[in-house]
């Protein structure tokens, strides 16, 4: 006999194909925008689009959206750490310029 504490949600193929199409669209957009516009836009746009793509992969392909909320809290701690470390490094580099 098997015992499983939670029911696993099935993510349907139409949802997965829609996410894939959105990812391809965002890839086209980021290549098309590459090198265009003001300097700050050239730097920020690819990372903003990459973050949107990563969000789609993590939420739907990796199914974080359907996991218990503790997964999201840990995820936020990790990305909070990355944001803090990035900010501190930026401050240090800018100070030395």
């Amino acid at each position: 006999m098997d015992a499983k504490e939670t029911k696993e949600r099935i993510v349907g193929a139409p949802t997965l194909f829609a996410v894939w199409a959105a990812l391809l669209g965002l890839t086209w957009l980021t290549v098309d925008l590459s090198g265009k516009g003001m300097a700050i836009f050239v730097l920020a746009a690819p990372f903003l689009i990459a973050s949107a793509k990563a969000f789609l992969v993590v939420d739907y392909f990796m199914r974080l959206k359907y996991e218990p909320s503790i997964f999201r809290y840990i995820f936020l701690i990790v990305f909070g750490t990355i944001a803090v470390v990035s900010f501190l490094v930026y401050q240090d580099v800018a100070y030395r310029q």
Binding site: A3, E5, T6, I10, P46, A54, F61, V93
Partner: protein
């Protein structure tokens, strides 16, 4: 009534939580070189832009499409397994591994072209260039090489999972190993989603 020792308890949440924690350590592994890239791009902006322009964004975009499609196949394979469609699961896993190998073949040709032009750490083409160019290519080869090793490891893990599906050890009622395999493969995809703009698009 079943005896207590007949009960097989499976803690899916615990198994996946453990996998996610491992993936976060992997994410930090790639965060280090990307942070180094940011620091040195700040110091040598022109050398980094010139070096980036020598990379083929078309090949990078093609590899992005290949990995995104392989991620779709992996996610579909898990859905197929949950619905008990073993044959379809095996087909989708084979497709995922095939796409992973296409990615590596593209990377091989891309690296080969750079080596042919002496554009590698210690190569003759970089000897006369500004420091920033050598640092750019050092970071490029290290980070994409590390990512390539993860693609290779992911393909090996997927082949192992496919064998378990074939033997029935992964099935429609017990598939957490396939889910964790998928999580690893998607991480490889997420890392590439960030490496692509870092090296090919921020110009």
């Amino acid at each position: 009534m079943s005896k207590p020792h007949d009960i097989s308890h499976r803690d899916y949440t615990g198994a996946k939580l453990g996998m996610w924690l491992f993936l976060f350590t992997e994410f930090f592994l790639f965060f280090g070189p990307v942070l180094l890239y940011a620091v040195f791009r700040f110091r040598y902006p022109h050398a980094f832009i010139d070096a980036s322009l020598k990379l083929d964004a078309g090949v990078g975009a093609l590899n992005t499409v290949i990995l995104l499609t392989s991620s779709l196949c992996m996610a579909l394979a898990i859905t197929a397994m949950q619905r008990g469609r073993k044959g379809l699961t095996l087909f989708l896993l084979a497709l995922t591994v095939t796409l992973g190998s296409f990615f590596l073949v593209n990377k091989y040709f891309e690296w080969g072209a750079k080596f042919a032009h002496g554009l590698y750490p210690g190569g003759e083409a970089l000897a006369g260039n500004a420091d920033g160019t050598a640092i750019f290519y050092g970071l490029y080869f290290f980070t994409t090489g590390l990512h390539g090793l993860h693609v290779l490891a992911g393909m090996a893990i997927i082949i192992g999972a496919a064998l378990m599906v074939h033997e029935g050890r992964i099935n429609s009622t017990d598939f957490v190993k396939l889910e964790n395999t998928g999580l690893y493969w998607h991480l490889v995809d997420v890392v590439w989603i960030f490496l692509f703009p870092v090296f090919y698009l921020v110009r």
